[in-house]
Amino acid sequence: MPTARGPARVAVKIDPDVWREKSSDWTRDRPPASRRSASGASSRKRGVALAQLQRCDDVGEDQTRLPGLVKVYVPITEAAPSERPYGMVFSPEPGPLLVFVAFGERHPRPGTRSVYERAHKRLHGRYPDQ
């Protein structure tokens, strides 16, 4: 298990310019600003528990390609995934340290890009359908 080889939590680094580009400030059905800010601030300060992390898919059903990236559901709680509609995606670097890549809805309404599509664009420079 990963916990046997490393710390129980992994530190997080968030570039303020990248944080400002997150999508959910622009969405209609967003959680309270205080909760969004708390997720970012808390992750930055305390890191993310390994137990909350998941690998992103090398190739997803939506044609996103996110090899080498990891994610957490937001809010970062023990609630069921269906009660955590947002996601944060990270690119790990040596340390390890998680570098913030994207934040947004996991399953947005049609016409809005998911957090995975946004992470794909940040990784590859274009959306999967471009």
Binding site: P2, D15, D17, D57, P92, R106, R122, H124, Y127, D129
Partner: protein, 76 residues
Amino acid sequence: MIGMAVTAKRLNVKIGDLVEIEGRKYDVVSDKHGGVALEPAITKTVAEIHAEHGSRPLTPEEFEEYFGDLPSDGEG
């Protein structure tokens, strides 16, 4: 009922363009239904973020060492 006269501003943009509206940047993207949509712009790549911090992403071998046992959910 009084009708409202609206004059549309014609925008000379295409999918893939970056536009700025009231100080915020947006990417012009497909809405996947034949139209276009605006998404908050993504202006910095993962490689650029790591480079600005003087670091790099993990190699595939390093990734497997640290995170190889993590679960995945198949959604992205």
